[in-house]
């Protein structure tokens, strides 16, 4: 009955032994390292979606192949997962039996002395007049003092030390599984999203308010904690000393916010800074970016306001904060669109438009105006892109383009004395544009990462186990005393290193010296 199965069972056994062998673990580790490389070469969608998309646009031929191979998300790909899952299986298969062995070995006495101690690679022997009992008693004492576990039997002392090394090794490998569990929790049950909030603007934590949002498989709408916050002000310090190598760099970002943890709760305030996230009930709010939002009012041909309010512009250059933005006035007929740049500190040279510094020294917007159909009806559209397919450029002659070049009437609420006029009429009676004010915005990242403490705890345990495993040197030692016919006693001492980097010669020298009652001179 069982006979036909035997082949299969045996084969499984063989496969299991192969999978859990040291050699397989080694090869899988090297494979894992190799498999991680493409993720640093090919842009990853999860890490940097924009760059991945650009890459795809530049390489239309390779893209389908790469997509099939999962090269745009290496770390979720089938092959990468296969390698680390095999490694996990191998790991479990490796540590379970070792746990059993360790458990038995832990309670077992040190093994009996081999018959011929001097045959061991590390051994020594000497003659003495002392009786065997005395030698053995002394040996047991010396070895106990050296923190060996000692048994005296059959005219020999057996000693063993360093049991914790194997324990450390098992803890290390086991803790790696805990780390994996923690990471898995984060990616299945966590979420992360970003949003731009301008000064005086507010945010409540629900899906519709995010600019971008990424969540694990098991995250539901009800998992978003119902907090909200308002950005009261934003401060930043610009390095304006031209001799400083980091001239133009911004630092000391502080966003003053007021927040409530849940509707009806008491309002609290917090200074949101880099490296100092706000933690609300397990959700963290991080300050990760900043920029400017011009407050722009668009009127149609009748003078009716068709669009008004802050419009975040996206910085394109860290040094000068030259930013790009789009205004969409969908209420007008025909619809009006603006597209162009913001120069926070306009250089003053109209032939060479540009910003010379990142702060709001002399803000200027320079945009082009379009009329037509914004294309909003045909599905979702990025607020940072103007779809010009059905739009007509206003004043569109190449030599003499009409531009909306305006300075703001106010800068962050303060009157802007340098600005004479902040309104411009659009050509063809299409309407007018007014640059009312300019406000800073901050980009915050909101994330919940369950399991991060599990992963951290696991990693710390792994490190502790690793230290024990690498620095505890397990070894066995034996001392045998034998009476010769001439009345002298032959004492043999041998040691066996049970780790992979230990050296026992020194210890033998020291033990022999201690047995003889000498002290070893420090050798230079």
């Amino acid at each position: 009955m069982a006979a036909p199965d035997l082949g299969f069972v045996e084969m499984m056994r063989w496969a299991w032994r192969q999978l859990t062998s040291m050699r397989t673990a080694l090869i899988l580790l090297l494979l894992l390292a190799l498999a991680a490389i493409p993720g640093s070469v090919v842009p990853q969608s999860d890490v940097d979606a924009m760059r991945a998309n650009n890459w795809k646009a530049d390489h239309p031929d390779l893209t389908p192949i790469y997509e099939k191979l999962g090269l745009f998300s290496v770390y979720d790909s089938v092959w990468f997962s296969a390698i680390y899952l095999l490694l996990v299986v191998s790991l479990v298969g490796c540590i379970l039996p070792r746990l059993r062995v360790y458990w038995r070995g832990f309670r077992a006495a040190p093994p009996k002395a081999p018959r011929n101690l001097t045959r061991l690679p590390d051994s020594d022997s000497y003659l003495t007049d002392a009786p065997t009992d005395e030698v053995l008693e002394r040996a047991a004492e010396v070895l106990r003092k050296r923190r060996f576990r000692v048994v005296v039997a059959d005219g020999a002392v057996s000693a063993e030390r360093g049991y914790l090394r194997e324990a450390g090794n098992l803890v290390f490998h086991g803790a790696l599984l805990v780390v994996l569990a923690g990471v898995a929790m984060g990616s299945l049950m966590g979420y992360q999203g970003g949003v731009i909030v301008w000064k005086d603007g507010s945010f409540s934590n629900n899906l519709t308010q995010y600019d971008d949002f990424k969540a694990g498989r098991f995250v539901g709408v009800e998992d978003l904690d119902p907090f909200r916050f308002t950005v009261d002000d934003f401060d930043v310090e610009w390095i304006d000393d031209p001799t400083n190598p980091r001239y133009g760099m911004a630092r000391k970002f502080v966003a003053g916010i007021r927040y409530t943890e849940k509707p009806g709760a008491e309002e609290k305030s917090y200074d949101l800074r880099v490296n100092h996230p706000l933690s609300v009930d397990g959700t963290d709010v991080f300050l990760i970016g900043h920029g400017y939002a011009p407050v722009i009012t668009v009127r149609d041909g009748e003078g009716e306001i068709v669009s008004s309010g802050p419009v975040p512009f996206l910085p394109e250059d860290q040094a000068t904060f030259t930013s790009f933005g789009v205004v969409k006035a969908s209420g007008a007929t025909p619809q009006i669109g603006l597209e162009g740049m913001l120069y926070p500190t306009y250089s003053g040279d109209p032939n060479n438009l540009g910003s010379v510094f990142g702060s709001l020294g002399n803000p200027l917007i320079s945009m082009q105006a379009y009329v037509g159909d914004l294309g909003l009806a045909s599905g979702s559209q990025s607020v940072y892109v103007l779809d010009k397919t059905n739009m007509k450029l206003l004043g569109g002659t190449t030599e003499n383009l009409f531009r909306v070049d305006l300075c703001p009437a106010k800068i962050d609420g303060e009157e802007n004395a340098r600005c004479e006029t902040s309104t411009v009429e659009l050509p063809d009676g299409a309407g007018s544009v007014t640059f009312e004010d300019i406000k800073p915005w901050v980009r915050v990242q909101i994330s919940q990462t369950p399991g991060k403490m599990v992963a951290l705890g696991g990693m710390i345990a792994a490190l502790a186990g690793l230290l024990a495993s690498l620095f505890i040197r397990p070894r066995r030692m034996w001392v045998r005393a034998r009476r010769e016919d001439d009345g002298s006693t032959v004492v043999e001492v041998a040691a066996l290193d049970r780790s992979s980097g230990g050296e026992v010669g020194e210890e033998i020298v020291e033990v022999v010296a201690a047995l003889k009652g000498e002290t070893v001179k420090e050798e230079l």
Partner: protein, 339 residues
């Protein structure tokens, strides 16, 4: 002292340091030029050879002290004062310091006199490369870098890098020495046929002079390489898998993001883990294990040089046009370009 004065002091100290290491290198070269002609078991304790050796060691120690001055100067020159690990130049300056310091600290314990020529040569070249190619003005750190986690994370990474470098050096010597031992064994086997007889004296007279003969046996080299790697590995583990993620979590809201730098730190970790395995795996001990260790070292170097030069531009760019294209207060790319 003003910041500029500190910076000048640091640069001058680095120059002096380069000169002192070079002189140390010359002394050791003089020592080894004589030593290599002597039988390996004969090391004069006095006379010219010994003096050159001691002089070399003295200069190495002096160089190390000046090296430290240069590092401290860098830190004091920044406003606010900080640890001198803000850019590539400073990172190389620091890790090469660790190499020399570790060499001097372990000099007696592991009797490293045979390693001196190699270490000083390596450090001198590294320092020259740093000064000529990587030198950069002292600059204030980006906001995200001024965190206590910078000190913890980067100091651990610097320490591990220094020790891994030393370990890699010993592994290379191991590979060379092991080949030579095999060759000698073959030669001896030819001279002394199995079953005794033959010219035993001639076999024992197989040359035992030369630089390699003074390098310890491949077995000791293997053990020393293991000890160095075993020291550096937990430090690296702490740097890139504990301190780094904690920092990334507070600064960037995710503790691990598979950024190119993180990927390569992980690869390095995995390869060195493989090395520790290889040392106890049948068929991989010795030669193959040493090769795995050297692959680990290459990944370490690549992370630190390659990423900046091959992906640096692209990756920095990428953050500038992130979707939605937001200039990050703190960008991993900026950090990448600095370390």
């Amino acid at each position: 002292m003003t910041n500029e004065a500190w910076e000048t002091l640091s640069d001058q100290a680095a120059t002096v340091c380069g000169v002192v290491y070079f002189l140390a290198l010359l002394s050791y070269s003089a020592q080894w030029a004589s030593l290599r002609k002597l039988p390996a078991d004969e090391t004069p304790q006095s006379g010219q050879v010994a003096v050159w050796g001691r002089f070399g060691l003295l200069l190495t120690g002096l160089g190390c002290a000046v090296h430290l001055v240069s590092l401290v100067g860098r830190g004091m020159a920044a406003d606010p004062n900080r640890v001198p690990w803000g850019n590539m130049y400073e990172f190389v300056l620091s890790s090469s310091f660790v190499v020399v310091l570790a060499f001097l600290v372990f000099y007696r314990k592991y009797r490293l006199d045979w390693l001196s020529l190699w270490v000083v040569g390596l450090v001198w070249i590294t320092l020259m490369v740093a000064m000529i190619l990587l030198h950069d003005r002292v600059a204030p750190l980006a906001e995200s870098l001024s965190s206590p986690w910078l000190v913890i994370h980067v100091s651990a990474a610097v320490l591990a890098t220094g020790i891994f470098t030393l370990g890699g050096l010993v592994s290379i010597l191991f590979l060379i020495k092991e080949r030579q031992e095999k060759r000698i064994a073959v030669r001896e086997a030819e001279l002394v046929p199995v079953g005794g007889g033959g010219d035993v004296a001639a076999a024992q007279a197989v040359p035992r002079t030369g630089i390699l003969a003074r390098v310890p046996s491949s077995k000791s080299l293997d053990r020393l390489a293991y000890r160095l790697h075993a020291f550096a590995f937990p430090v690296w583990t702490f740097a890139v898998l504990i301190a780094g993620p904690i920092w990334a979590q507070v600064a960037w809201s995710r503790y691990w993001g598979w950024d190119a730098k993180e990927v390569w730190a992980f690869i390095t970790w995995v390869v060195y883990a493989a090395y520790l395995h290889a040392r106890v795996t049948a068929g991989w001990k010795g030669r193959n294990a040493a090769i795995v260790a050297l692959i680990g070292f290459v990944t370490l170097l690549f992370n630190f040089i390659g990423i900046n030069y091959f992906f640096g531009g692209g990756s920095k760019h990428s953050y500038a046009e992130d979707a939605p294209a937001v200039v990050q207060v703190i960008s991993a790319a900026e950090l990448t370009s600095q370390l």
